[in-house]
Subunit: 319 residues, 2 copies
């Protein structure tokens, strides 16, 4: 559930005067997105999402995120199109926060995706990688190994509270990942957070990719490894090989994987599991109970990390 | 901000099959309403609000609330129309909760209403009173003096924590209200919670009355007294006589007030201020910090109560 900034109709109407989106009909704060405040708007010209950027998003990164969405949308990727203001800018100010208006995409996110939907996600991810290749801006991935180290430094002292033995296990994991992490895989713009709640479907048809606020430059195969973590585990943490094979096959039908990329997948998937485990662990240990922020259990990703550590061949992913 | 129950797309699609509203396009949890979980839906036939009734609303009261909305909407009051299921019922079950689908009303609620808007609210309130007169069901007001007594019993011990001397002041207030409360004013269906966040406007035109979950049978003038509390105080708790006069004049242009009703207004307004003070005080003292429920400051209504206690003539309300 989003913590959200209240916006009065007067300040919103003044804000909308900077755009050519017609007259305001209604707006509702929506309980989605954990980083920003989001409103759904109806105007006489259609439906939009208004985002107010809260403290977790750096204002200096906004031109990258919004420029990327605009670039991808113009290349036919089904993602929100930031609406240009009359002055050509994509970013304004509302309620003392940076704010942007983006087009509303119909579709629902799927709590229990099927293999067909996983294939579509693979295809869409590869399409995003190809479409992003000529995007002129870049943004380093703040959540690479060095970033994980910082999160771990803030959580390590108390990590054994979550599970006895976790400190030693994660220390070993860091040592191995730092030793073996690849350095020369193909890379470019990645989404870096393509979980089911960031992908909309209408039936089995993928109708939208949203939430580009972790997008950055990194290995394409790392983005794919994030998706294996995000889409292929069932609620009981079993790995669904059918979905995994479909996701990988969908990806490769649009962008072939090199041998080096395929071989790196288990290690990249360990890294991805560690990355999501660490942000959850950090929040779990540092956010006071009762804050209006959803604290997600880090255990899921500890188990996923262990799964990937046992992988001996990419055939186990259905590749 | 609403506490809300998550609904999967699968269970929502199954739920919608009971209705003739077309196919689901999107749904978003909306951060409005403190009692229930609300989703905004787009379907191929239009926009709807889906409400899941949480524990604070009694399931046995739902036929009254939804039947009333249907009755009023059919009489031309701009309120949501509950959508009938294929079996003719207005109430279904979703995610183990009673649930209903109502039409979506465009409009925004006004943080700082002007006098024209106050006049429209008065007119709409009177229209609602007239339109409800032949609604066949009734529901006693659980928040009359006896109900306030129960809230006070649960808060009295700690009320002086909120403001020293409050216990003695409110005890005196109860004694006077119980002694002087009218018994024979005109009454019928009242909204009982017509605050600005429950009234939508498009410009100065009133486009919707929502949230009928406190509606009940009581004196019409008491509903009007609630509106004086809800619409005519400024943020600094000063009373805006222009807005008050406009609200009363708007009301009387649709339904005349008898002398007895007019004379009772100061006392009814004290009662209304006490009622909202008490629910806020009770929540303030009993809901643990950090629950996902908005706790509103009871002081506003202590000050409003004191204002009404000093009223010597209804001319001070602009009547």
């Amino acid at each position: 559930m989003a913590v959200y900034t209240d916006v009065s109709e007067g300040e919103l109407e003044a804000f909308l005067k900077e755009y050519q989106v017609g007259d305001l009909l209604s707006y509702k704060g929506i309980a989605e997105g954990s980083e920003n405040s989001n409103y759904m708007l109806h105007t006489t010209k259609g439906a939009y999402i208004l985002t107010l950027y809260e403290k977790r998003v750096e204002r200096q990164d906004l031109p990258f995120f919004l420029g990327l969405m605009e670039h991808l949308a113009k290349k036919g990727i089904v993602c929100p199109l930031p609406v240009q203001r009359r002055d050509g800018q994509l970013i304004g100010t509302l309620a003392d926060r940076a704010a942007a208006l983006i087009t509303f995409l119909e579709g629902v996110w799927i709590r229990k995706p099927n293999a067909t939907q996983c294939r579509e996600v693979g295809r869409a991810l590869a399409g995003l990688h190809l479409a992003g290749a000529d995007f002129p801006m870049s943004r380093p991935n703040a959540l690479q190994i060095e970033g994980w180290r910082k999160l771990w430094a803030g959580a390590r002292d108390r990590a054994d509270e979550v599970e006895p033995g976790l400190v030693a296990e994660i220390d070993r994991e860091f040592a191995e990942l730092e030793r073996d992490w690849p350095t020369d895989l193909p890379g470019g713009i990645i989404h870096a957070d393509l979980f089911p709640d960031n992908v909309f479907f209408l039936g089995n048809e993928l109708s939208g990719l949203i939430d580009f606020y972790f997008a950055c430059n990194d290995f394409y195969a790392y983005d794919l490894a994030i998706c294996l973590n995000a889409w292929c585990f069932e609620k009981d943490q079993s790995y669904n090989l059918t979905k995994s094979a479909a996701l990988l096959s969908g990806y490769r039908s649009v962008r072939p994987l090199s041998d080096a990329e395929a071989e790196a997948l288990p290690l990249l998937a360990r890294g991805a599991a560690l990355r999501f485990m660490l942000t959850r662990l950090y929040d779990w240990l540092t956010i006071p109970d009762g804050e209006l922020v959803l604290k997600r259990d880090p255990h899921e990703f500890i188990r996923r990390l262990r799964f990937h550590r046992r992988i001996r061949s990419t055939a186990e992913y259905g590749l």
